[in-house]
Assembly symmetry: C2
Homo-oligomer: 498 residues x 2
């Protein structure tokens, strides 16, 4: 039964969510609309808004309220208890970092980005080492405030994947690595090199964009509650569920980034649009975790968008969008959409090798935070692991250890969620295929509604009522494992690289 | 000399300005970018942000700080004193309305808008009378808290035109009316009806937009620090001076709204871009008043953009933008740009009759607030005055007293600033013409830089260092009067309607 204290919690939370919504739109505007000159003023506005939010999230009245609710837990319904748990988690996260440390991190981030950019310019990680050492030190301090000794990486992982621990993800990612390395070797040994004509050449950007938009709408994106724009780095933001903002970018010489990027972001967008509006301003509102979010984008991008059923319908429209593709077969498009080969750059990697890029980063950042690797050993470790796992070696650090912005910004604990997302995606998709009669046939007729609806009913509409662990068991009957992905990716390699 | 208390004031003010900047971008997004579904979430975000700002503006610590600074006034430099005065004014404004009254006004506004829309639908003001009575009553309450008995309109005017009073603007607007009524009669009696072909017909929207953009850039709008977009109601917003956002809208059958609207908003935009970035986060930062802002838009739209020098240069480009205008003379364009005729709708009125629409609204809203007119007498008063001043009578209230949204939203005190803006524009322009050698010749060569620079140096860059009254004396050597406008508009009527 709701109590006056619980109502007060909801009221405070609604204000926090409202201000987070403001923050999100300002962030979107900054990437998509803001003129170059607006940067300084925006930085001030964002900082002041962040300050207000921090004060609201750590307000003594809120903590008192949570304390009193916890003492009266017995009076609350299960969902209210879950709500309380989420609110407490958010307060703990916000309160863990003292103002002094938060300021130091903000400075380390600016300094880190600057050093990272300069080091990239010089193609040499050494200029970035001192700044990164400082950042790792600060992140270890943060972790020590929230975590257990010997498990410093866990609280950082928890920022993006609530409740996840090294103990849980280590075996999964190790198994994923052991599955993938020999598969990559098989791909290379097969000597198969798909003809890339379906996606590489000269393509009109307007036609690319219209084609991608048509697919996103067919996936079920509601245009009355969303926008699709352009930005340098594609993302999905806005305010769920009724003001979702997706972006993509289109390259006239290679359509894959724009097309699969748009499908990917629309996968995120469907999750956001599928959340329950009635919960949006409560602690239960919002996506569960980065990995579950990523499962939705990857499922559409890879499991659906690179599949034969999908192209059975969309090949005709692709050919219509780009007349030079006249006569191209579905099989040729599918082969090109699934080009696999070891490469140096994560964001350009295919579905198979991508996970090795992630495992490499995960192991490195885990060891840095755990104190088992020194920043100055970074380049050697990176290059050795690249060569062992993927058989390629960077010619310089800009195509090696300097390629991602994450560590410069202090984002430790984020990388593994990409691969966990792939595992969730495969496991959800395998279940959907069992539960939806004739799913592939429907997709091959251009009908993606049954899948979207299955995802909405089973995943999206529950917001954070369940943890990621509870959800995957509830939906698929089993905890997260590599099994479904193994079956899926092995079949793909068998079919295309033999 | 700056004191620690003064530094604290600056710090608090910077935060307030940062959050106001966030509010402004969210407002822009709402009008220009937001998908239809985003309305509810945006209303929540805006309300919560407004709540935060209200708390910051009325914080007891801020009031205490201002009190202590006032006691130590002697130690402050003149600009710091002005800064203090502006900060105190803002605090007084924010604090004047108790929470209970603010809530009632918010409700009256929602109810007022709903009743106004329904009454417009029915074309009958009577359905709107009770809601408007409630709003007038609440606004009188607000005014009573801030103003002097018998002068209730003054504090409402002060919201938009700081320091202005009825005693000051009454004679100006009366003189403006007495100047205009006979001029309108002369225009009508002349029988002159310009051929509207330069602006009315069939025009490509893309070409209209590109032409307007070229003019705005030539005026000196810096594209690195601004955007120009489309919206239903053109406006200029964003964050001054480095992220200014202007909008316009283009009608394929009549190019005047889009073209002169874009020039008008670019006039506002130049003011915003000309403000001093170093003051942006201080109490001195920002535009002086609504009327001074409007003077900048009107000066460019009317005094420049409808003038013969302007079209001497731009006629060629207008003809190039719309090939059907081939061979059209500068004089024909100028005649059409200055079409004058009595009409019913303010936003479609020409430069001459526009001021009568304003005087009519000013006299009515002043009398409503002063308690000298009852809301139920509104329609009669409106229709009688329209007929007396402009010689036209609405067929129904939607083209009469219900045409503007202002009163339904509780915006009393805003209307007169439009006409005051016209007076300021004429007075500034007359001075500029004296001080810039060969100004019209420069404009006739497409060179608008000397005028823009003169406005920047004399008006824009001073932010709120001077009051409107101080500024106009400083720049033109005289207080605001009807004289310059009389000379300007009489010459125009003489030239075109004889």
């Amino acid at each position: 039964m709701a109590t006056p204290a619980y109502d007060q919690l909801l009221e405070r939370y609604a204000e926090i969510k409202d201000l987070e919504g403001a923050q999100s739109i300002l962030g979107w505007d900054q990437e998509v609309m803001m003129p170059a000159g607006g940067g300084a003023a925006r930085a001030h506005s964002m900082a002041s808004l962040a300050g207000v939010l921090h004060a609201k999230r750590t307000a003594p009245e809120l903590r008192k309220l949570l304390g009193s609710l916890k003492r009266g837990r017995a009076k609350l319904k299960p969902r209210e208890r879950r709500s309380l748990e989420l609110a407490q988690h958010a307060v703990d996260k916000a309160s863990a970092i003292p103002a002094r440390l938060a300021t130091e991190i903000a400075h380390a981030e600016s300094a880190g980005l600057e050093a990272w950019r300069a080091a990239r310019e010089a193609r040499d990680v050494r200029g970035f080492v001192p700044a990164l050492e400082r950042m790792v030190g600060l992140k270890r301090e943060v972790a020590a405030l929230r975590g257990k000794p010997g498990k410093l990486y866990d609280p950082l992982l928890d920022e993006f994947e609530p409740g996840a621990t090294m103990a849980e993800i280590d075996p999964l990612l190790t198994e994923l690595k052991e599955l993938t390395v020999p598969l990559v070797k098989r791909v290379v040994a097969s000597g198969v090199k798909p003809n890339m004509k379906p996606f590489v050449g000269r393509f009109k950007v307007d036609a690319q964009r219209a084609f991608a938009r048509e697919i996103c709408l067919a996936m079920g994106i509601d245009p009355e509650r969303s926008r699709m724009d352009l930005s340098t780095h594609p993302f999905c933001g806005g305010v769920a569920p009724d003001d979702v903002r997706m972006t993509s970018r289109y390259d006239p010489r290679d359509t894959r980034g724009g097309l699969f990027g748009a499908i990917h972001e629309a996968g995120h967008g469907l999750y956001e649009q599928g959340l329950d509006a009635r919960r949006a301003r409560t602690p239960l509102g919002g996506a569960i975790s980065s990995a579950v979010h990523e499962s939705q984008s990857r499922l559409w991008e890879n499991n659906v968008g690179r599949g034969k059923p999908f192209w059975t319908y969309w090949a005709r429209k692709l050919r219509a969008a780009h007349p030079q593709l006249k006569g191209l077969s579905v099989d040729k498009i599918v082969a090109a959409a699934n080009e696999m080969r070891p490469s140096l750059i994560r964001v350009e990697a295919d579905e198979l090798t991508y996970n090795l890029h992630i495992v490499l980063r995960y192991e490195i950042e885990r060891d840095l935070i755990q104190g088992e690797l020194e920043v100055r050993e970074l380049r050697d470790r990176w290059n050795t692991n690249m060569s062992e796992m993927l058989g390629v070696t960077p010619r310089h650090d800009t195509e090696g250890v300097l390629q991602d912005i994450h560590w410069a910004m202090g984002l430790f604990g984020y990388f593994p969620t990409y691969s966990l997302g792939n595992l969730y995606a495969a496991q959800f998709m395998a279940t959907a295929r069992k539960q939806i009669r004739g799913l592939d046939g429907r997709i091959a007729k251009g009908d993606m509604e049954p899948l979207r609806e299955w995802l909405r009913v089973n995943i999206h509409r529950h917001d954070q009522v369940y943890t990621a662990g509870q959800l995957v068991k509830r939906v698929t009957g089993a905890p997260l494992s590599v099994d479904a992905f193994r079956t899926y990716i092995t079949a793909k390699v068998d079919a295309l690289y033999h």
